[in-house]
Amino acid sequence: MTTTTTDTAVAPPQQRPAEGFWATYGRWWVNAPGSALYLLVVFVLAMTSIGVLASFFSTGIGLLVLVIGLPMVVLTLLIARVLGVVDRFLLRLTGLPQIAEPEWNRDAPDANGFWMTLTRPIRNGHYWSYLVHGMIVNPIISTISFALTVAWLSVGLGGLTYWFWGIFLPRGDVGRWGQYVADFMPGLFGGWSWWAVEVVLYLVAGILFTFTLPWVMGGLARMHHAIAQGMLGRWPSDDLAAEVRAEAAARGLAVQAEDAALRRLERDIHDGPQQRLVRLQMDLAALQRRAEAGDTDAAAELAREAQFHTKAALDELRALSTGVAPPLLQDRGLGAALNALGAATALPVTLDIDPAVDTVSPEIARTIYFVVAELLTNAVKHSGASEVTVRAAIRPATPQTQAMLDVWVVDNGHGGAHMSPGHGLEGLRDRVAGLRGILRVESPYGGPTTIGAHVPLPAPGAADTGTGVR
């Protein structure tokens, strides 16, 4: 998960490209062929879109009174989405910045019923925006830009080469328009042959159009791009919606894990110390009766039994409270607790713990502690490993990413660990997901097994998690 690509991709522009007219002009030329290709292809796409979408949409609307119209409209919206995505994909030809994927599902994570799923496109503004773009906006602008592109390409490239292909034109008496121009403007073309006039005029037009070609192509591409950015791209509210969804999903998993843990705890208390205390109460009552009756031997025997049950109850309670919150974790923080875990494992454990891990919040520390404890137990029981390494480190925040807590448990066993339903690893993944983190398992057959838990750390103070995503 240690992606460093984001760091380099959005690195601050350290050496700015050379300034000056010709350098800038050259850069426009670089993207001109791609833009021209886009402008030609998008016209075909736009014509297809208007045909498909208009017929489907009008059919769907017309049938709305019958139930069949609703899925028809949904289908239209889905087609609009596909066509819009294709347009966004084609826009990459222009060399302009990529347009971010919108949030297609802005419902609550548990809104997965039949009607909610069916009507999801209808309730999401992005689909309608794609439909308007594909059915109305794109055909109009594509037609204009197609005309201009064809004009510029043909006049620009055709003008420059007229001296060659003009020779092959079939000509009657009326075909020599150079003659008329020369006659009309004798001051300029006096004495020129009609052919020379035609070649020169075509050449001048060709030079003008070719020179301006990159600006026209770039300008039209930018217009398409700007409109697509607004209609096909991500809206500022999408980040918030995505954040809310992720938050709700994480909360759901955390609640599930918490619920299961609480139920187990309740059962353990009931089966263990509670039974002991009931028995203790009975023994003490019996002891009182024996003592009052003066039977000291029986009283002493009952007292011994009472002590035994008290001790057992204490042992059980200690085991339970350690299971809920290990004392060392509470007292000394995550680093010390992980070190103690490593020391208590029946395999040689190499520990590499960043002291900064003690700064994470108690919930994160507790979850990570139990995840590592479980992973170490797994390594001892199932992996056949002869040694384990536990590494924990804080990855500092960058302008693009949140700070993360990274924990790896690596063993040199025979591998083959995998997530399967009901398997222990899945429970661990849910626990980590409850903190909005991820658990990654790499365990090829033959080993080694590398399991990484990566948990985002909330930025101290400001709640700027929304901007951190982009």
């Binding site: 001790k311 060392l328 007292d331 000394r332 070190n339 020391a343 029946a346 040689p348 454990v349």
Partner: protein, 226 residues
């Protein structure tokens, strides 16, 4: 409560300072001290100014809880370490609801014996409790059997070479007991204990050291080796 001859201990008149934040347990422990014939020279709810308090009370032994105000974390451990450094002549017994190998190491690293670390459960047996107090008073070391078991459980491989008898001897040795005490507990002769101990030291590659405290430290160091 009447001083029963059975509970009269050789340490009658021993001056004890108690630091325990729970009133319930403080009362219970003070009653236990009375029963053992100790003088409760002071009972406190926190470990503030522990050295001055122990000195002021002219205590022979200080008995401390681990979780104490203000943060209820490891104040008792820190106080014990301070006390060890400032007042080496006072025996220290740390009592806790749970035992941690890390704390055992920290406590024992501070000095040359006269320190103990026990589960609170152990005080239910008057005999066990007075035995522990006597040992720390005399400069010995007391380590809870549960800590010893936990620490040794992490090293199954090297320990597999020990015979069951040697394993028993190792555990008792790690609790800080003398050869005589080990012999008495296992119903064997002191000579047999000595033979077992030299065999253990040879098998685990430990250096034979003099005092009981040094032996405990050697076992602790062994459990940390990897």
């Amino acid at each position: 409560m009447m001083a029963d001859p059975r509970t009269e201990t050789p340490d009658a008149g021993l001056r004890v300072v108690l630091v325990e934040d729970s009133v319930l347990l403080r009362e219970g422990l003070v009653r236990l001290f009375d029963e053992a014939g100790y003088v409760t020279a002071g009972a406190f709810g926190d470990a503030d100014d522990i050295v001055a308090r122990v000195r002021g009370a002219q205590a022979d032994v200080a008995i401390l809880d681990v979780r104490l105000p203000p943060t209820f974390r490891d104040e008792g451990i820190k106080a014990a370490i301070t006390l060890r450094a400032e007042a080496p002549d006072v025996g220290i017994l740390v009592l806790s609801q749970y035992v941690e190998g890390l704390y055992a190491r920290e406590l024992l690293a501070g000095g040359d014996g006269g320190i103990g670390y026990l589960l609170k459960d152990r005080v239910t047996s008057l005999e066990e409790f007075t035995d522990a107090v006597r040992r720390v008073r005399e400069g010995g070391t007391v380590l809870d059997p549960l800590v010893v078991k936990e620490l040794l459980a992490a090293r199954p491989d090297p320990l597999a070479s020990l015979t069951p008898r040697e394993r028993d001897v190792l555990e008792l040795m790690a609790e800080g007991r003398s050869n005589a005490s080990i012999a008495e507990r296992l119903f064997i002769g002191v000579g047999a204990v000595e033979k077992n101990i030299s065999s253990i030291f040879a098998k685990l590659g430990l250096e034979e050291t003099g005092s009981e405290h040094r032996r405990v430290l050697a076992v602790l160091a062994f459990t940390q080796r990897s």
